[in-house]
Amino acid sequence: MADILDIGSRIELISMDPHFLEISIGLYRQGGETPRFLVHSYSSKEGVADRLSFIRQAMVVLGGMVQDGNYLSFVCGSEHHAAVRRTFLEAGKISPEAGLEPRPLSSLDRKSGLTLVVSERGSGLYEVTAEGNEKAKDRRVKVVANGLAKLGEMRLIDGREDQVQYPCEQDHASLTGLLLVRAPNVRAIVREQEMASSRGVLAAPSQQ
């Protein structure tokens, strides 16, 4: 009877882990003003604990989170709701055989051929620049800044199209590096989310 746990609100789900026996892994939010996060699976298959431990470690490395026992949080104490979900999903994509390294604050933009660079300006403020083809620079910088704003729930700085800031006003270099990889193509992320959320919804025969 009742083996389910009161472990907080599930805020993200990997419905089938491609790297470990297709188990489902949830990211649960606990706490009030200072949230902490739990990576949990209801599977009792052998090796689950190791897999969850790997994902936690990946979130520490990729997202710059801190670990206390089985719980994760950001040093700033903020939730960073969208960013922590993205960190969890990206951590789940990594094979346990792969090495874990923080993503750099620069990334090659395949669409434009530009090298996109994000520079820390202190107090959680980040500035996007681009190296390469002058023609596409301004547009891509704006796209990436907007992408970071969306993925990290950062605010765009008034009068600037190249600067974004975390609401906590604290630096998150690793997290920003992680988001930078996805920021040039937020539409792909949205499509991925839409596909994930439409899976598993039973439609009437007339809608199939």
Binding site: M1, A2, D3, I4, S9, R10, L13, S15, M16, E22, I23, S24, G26, S41, Y42, S43, S44, K45, A196, S197, R199, G200, V201, L202, A204, P205, S206, Q207, Q208
Partner: protein
């Protein structure tokens, strides 16, 4: 507070299906409550849990043991008997639903219909029957076990394809009626086989859905058949039709069905204003926007909305999305219990 002494879940559900007094409103899932996390919890993942009776029963039982519903409903999908009569099935993976390949229909017209004589012995029909036996053995005294038998309109979609069957209904209503009449034997036989196995009630999905089929169509093609099902399947039947269906609720109320499993596109109050005490209502809690996408507070609001309208049984509108959070499901019975305390 009710004056009725405390009931067991099974008594409570059966009383509500018959619109008799209950100690509190029952929570009831005429369709699936399976989620990927519950599959992990009891090691009974899709698609295997649709094909192995032990797994099917184990996963279904979590609706009561883990979520606290008053019912257990093991027939997660809508394809079991269609598979048994020969439809091609896309079994999918753990996180998606098996579906009939309706673009590869097995029959085109009345003359083509050949229901295999031994279809009830097919593993996908037997799986349901055996799962119900297991659940009856393990929970039968306590919890209401609900089976499922598909109606002829849904079976026609599966066996002939949605578009061809709808076009046929326009071009040749007489043949359409004769097709439905022929397919009804599957509904009756599969339903009665589940009764023999121990089912307390049956969900009868017949997808004359609000988006494609009008209330007038329901009256013309299905009302009399549904009356016949009530006569020939001797346990409470819960008719399930998705979509906006207020235009046919009057007809449904005339069939003698015990309950109508209704969609969130219909408001609770406008629905019960039509059905009154002629048929119980169950369902209405929105799947994609509420149970899947929002939090427990939004679920609680919808449960209370149904309770305040006097809806007889509380539950989700249809098979819940497989990624639904457990928290959003346990809040349904919790809210019902809290509401009755106040």
């Amino acid at each position: 507070m009710s004056d009725v002494k405390e009931m067991k879940p099974r008594e409570r559900v059966l009383a509500a299906l018959n619109r008799q007094p209950v100690d509190r409103t029952p929570t009831c899932n005429p369709t699936s409550l399976a989620t990927v996390e519950l599959m992990d919890l009891v090691d009974a993942p899709f698609p295997q849990a649709n094909r192995d009776p032990e797994l099917m029963a184990r996963l279904a039982a979590t609706g009561h043991t883990e979520l606290g519903f008053d019912t257990i409903m093991p027939v997660f999908s809508i394809i079991q008997e269609s598979s048994a009569v020969g439809c091609k099935i896309q079994w999918e993976q753990k996180d998606n639903w098996p579906t009939v390949k309706m673009r590869e229909p097995i029959w085109e017209s009345l003359e083509d219909i050949r229901v295999p004589t031994d279809y009830l012995l097919h593993p996908d029909a037997q799986c349901v029957i055996e799962a119900i036996k297991i659940l009856k053995r393990d929970y039968g005294d306590e919890v209401a076990i609900i089976g499922k038998t598909m109606g002829p309109w849904s079976l026609a979609y599966h066996c002939m394809g949605v578009e061809p069957f709808l076009l046929l209904s326009l071009d040749d209503p007489d043949q359409t009626k004769r097709i439905l009449d022929k397919l009804k034997q599957i509904t009756i036989e599969f339903g009665n086989a589940q009764i023999e196995a121990g089912a307390d009630a049956l969900t009868l999905p017949d997808h004359a859905t609000g988006d494609l089929v009008s209330g007038e169509y329901y009256d013309r093609f299905l009302r009399d058949l549904h009356i016949e099902f009530v006569e020939k399947i001797p346990i409470p039947l819960i008719l399930h039709i998705c979509g906006r269906t207020v235009d046919r609720m009057e007809y449904i109320a005339q069939t003698g069905m015990s309950a109508f499993h209704y969609d969130s596109k219909n408001k609770p109050q406008e629905s019960i204003d039509i059905t009154g005490d002629r048929v119980s209502l169950v369902g209405n809690i929105n799947n994609p926007e509420t149970l899947f996408s929002k939090g427990p507070e939004a679920v609680r609001d919808e449960v209370i909305n149904n309770l305040e309208a006097g809806i007889q049984l509380i539950g989700p509108e249809c098979a819940i999305p497989l990624q639904t959070s457990i928290e959003n499901l346990t809040v349904i019975p919790e809210t019902v219990k809290e509401w009755h305390k106040n």
